[in-house]
Chain length 503, copies 2
Amino acid sequence: MRKGYSVSAYQQLQQRFKRHGCLDDVLAVLNWDTAANMPAGGAEVRSEQSAELEVMQHELLTAQETGELLIQAKEECGQLDAWQAANLYEMERLWRHATAVPADLVDALSRAAQRCEMIWRDARPASDFAQTQPALQEVLDLTRKSAQAKAEALDCSLYDALLDQYEPGGSSAEVDAIFQDLAGFLPDFLPQVLERQARQPEPALPAGPFPLDRQEALGRRLMQQVGFDFGHGRLDSSLHPFCGGVPDDIRLTTRYDENDFVSSLMGILHETGHAMYERGLPADWRHQPVGMARGMALHESQSLMIEMQACRSDAFLSFLGPLLAETFPGPSEVWQTGNLARIYRKVEPGFIRVDADEVTYPAHVILRYRLEKALIEGDMQLADLPAAWNDGMKELLGITPPEDRLGCLQDIHWYAGAWGYFPTYTLGAMIAAQLFDTARKQVPDVEQRLGQGDFAPLMGWLRQNVHAWGSFMETGALLEKATGRSLDPETFKTHLRQRYLGG
Amino acid sequence: MRKGYSVSAYQQLQQRFKRHGCLDDVLAVLNWDTAANMPAGGAEVRSEQSAELEVMQHELLTAQETGELLIQAKEECGQLDAWQAANLYEMERLWRHATAVPADLVDALSRAAQRCEMIWRDARPASDFAQTQPALQEVLDLTRKSAQAKAEALDCSLYDALLDQYEPGGSSAEVDAIFQDLAGFLPDFLPQVLERQARQPEPALPAGPFPLDRQEALGRRLMQQVGFDFGHGRLDSSLHPFCGGVPDDIRLTTRYDENDFVSSLMGILHETGHAMYERGLPADWRHQPVGMARGMALHESQSLMIEMQACRSDAFLSFLGPLLAETFPGPSEVWQTGNLARIYRKVEPGFIRVDADEVTYPAHVILRYRLEKALIEGDMQLADLPAAWNDGMKELLGITPPEDRLGCLQDIHWYAGAWGYFPTYTLGAMIAAQLFDTARKQVPDVEQRLGQGDFAPLMGWLRQNVHAWGSFMETGALLEKATGRSLDPETFKTHLRQRYLGG
């Protein structure tokens, strides 16, 4: 009797989490619609719709019955197969995060973050950090309270409790070690790169305007080369490009600039990497926690795999050049592989993270990681943030932002309540390098086929070794299974050396 | 103590119905997305998403607590103001419909209708009624079962229970009387119209092609003339035009044909009438039952008010002509008011309802009403439907469909499970005539301003007398309050006589 009952506990949980997953889906469609379609006058009612769905999700997770079913299902987990067991594990993770924090604190934090983000939108262009400080202090205080509650439930440090929201199972001990390694490497490496670059000719820049319809047609063509299936997705435009929607109906957005197709093109390829990951998630586990993407580090690794590893390679650039020449008439020397490489791999220390190249990007992330960890752990006061930011930039990249608009005000994350997110960008870049390295070794023609615009060998390997696993394992275990070793900064450094110092 | 408690029962209901209303909203956005954006591969997961939300709505309504709260709130309804009391009344109506039918019957009917609709999609072009008959029989049987259950809960006839789903408070006794009147009028009237028309010159038809971007620009321009606010809505295209979305974010769709802008243009204006109604619903009652549109008859009256009463008037056509001449260059005689009137008011008995003119349209509806009532009440067998249809067409319009594709297979309604819907089309046309007649009398410059493309006087009157009332009253009461009398076929007949016999 008990056996029958407990299988039923798991099945009841699956039913409950299916509802939760469907609400995730619907929120994703609404979010895409908000960015891609919604008229301004729809904003207020859209917030109400989304808030109501989120409350329903929270109620589903925190209902007493959910906790009871989890206990029952765990008692009888011998009845479950490996995927069901992993699913149960992920259910409990979601439940733990949801139940750790009292509903009124969740609500207070969400409101404080919304308020602070609004203030930030005005304060950033005005470069006025002081204007944001009271609201940001409130966000920080409530975030620390929330982190405290989660840290107790997860038995970890405050910062790790936040990191776990974006990178399940991640730890600051691991991040510390990796970032320390990188922070030691970059100060030597960067000057060498810049020196070598200075010896090369300046890239010849393509002259615009570049008609938007041609940019779009080229973008669609390249998405299809990567493997994007327009029977299961769309491309639209929005102010901030992103990959939204659901695995069977991906909603990718981009932004066009008539005077510059360079960044928009790589932007589309970046989002297509995210899209391919979502599309490749295990179809048998749609709407279940184990069927979801593993975490933000792995997600970012898939976008950077396409954008950085594959699409900035010599092989792909040699395929891209003739396509660009066809699309945008003009002097042909611009489209030669060597010139394209000098455009797409230009290294230049700058103030703005989202404009940073592959080499300097980690420095931006390391800085943010150090600062947010200190703020969360209580080792730094908010009033000291602008100065600490500028000192860090000086130390890591040798430049000092002349104003906070180009410093601690540039990113939305903290102001919108996303603390613990930043490390995933650079972890993603390193995972991408390690996965690409292994894929090339295991599938010998990966690079040669990229030279023909054919992503099938690379994508086949990724689907089998990454996408299809959903959340079956934690990121570290997946990486070990796929590449035979844990995250290894050497592979990333080797990649940078080969690409930027020529071997 | 009891007082405090019972106000709280009503407030709890408001909370519960707010959630229900938000789910309505979300379903509306998903439906629009399905029609306007979704790639084919997204269909399966979209069904899952929508089904899950509908189950959640059904659970909200049928939960034991909802019934208990309704009893408590009614006991203390002396505490409520008039709008709250009306809201409570509408809550109970929704509850009564939802609880009347067992969940497994709801589910079986929904599945049967989906199956039948799929078969119909193949059978219609093949003109093969027999192919649909088994599936349609199942839909009919389950619809009758459902009607039986609702009839008991609502204490009315089977047909009235179905009609009540689309036209709350409507009754077949009233519809019988009105349709009998019209069915007596049309056989004399129609030949007079056709005879008069034959004496007039044939309309000169504009020659295409009509570029789609110009059609769209013109459509947007006219929507704005009517009063559509693009800050709270969009225009897109879809296979079947409709007005979707939510009151603060209307999603209107249309369909363009490069060789024919005539029907597309009136299509946009029709949907804009629906949109203006939704937009004008009482903002204080968003997401509450009393804040919703009253019913399908009144909804259709608002679209036909714009399309038929306003936009086919001489006054508006005299404004439209010069706009068309600007938009589509060509010989100017085509755009003269008299010629436009002959195009837009051409009367011609035909087989297809959706192509019918204002004069013959009621005959199509009366036929469907008689047949569906007989089928639901058990006075007719499904096997007899094709012959009965053709006999009815012969009697009402003097023509006999040569095949079922042009007869009983033409409309999706029955095959998709929408029984009891048809009468609302013609009730809507008659309500529109009566409201327009009153508006012209109460606001003397309504017509003159339409001649300047200015809908503000008409729309102001409609907003005040129709839109802003939401579901505060039943349709009949609203019409009496607005026009001083109940639905009166004479006004509609007078409108037809004036327009088609010249006074």
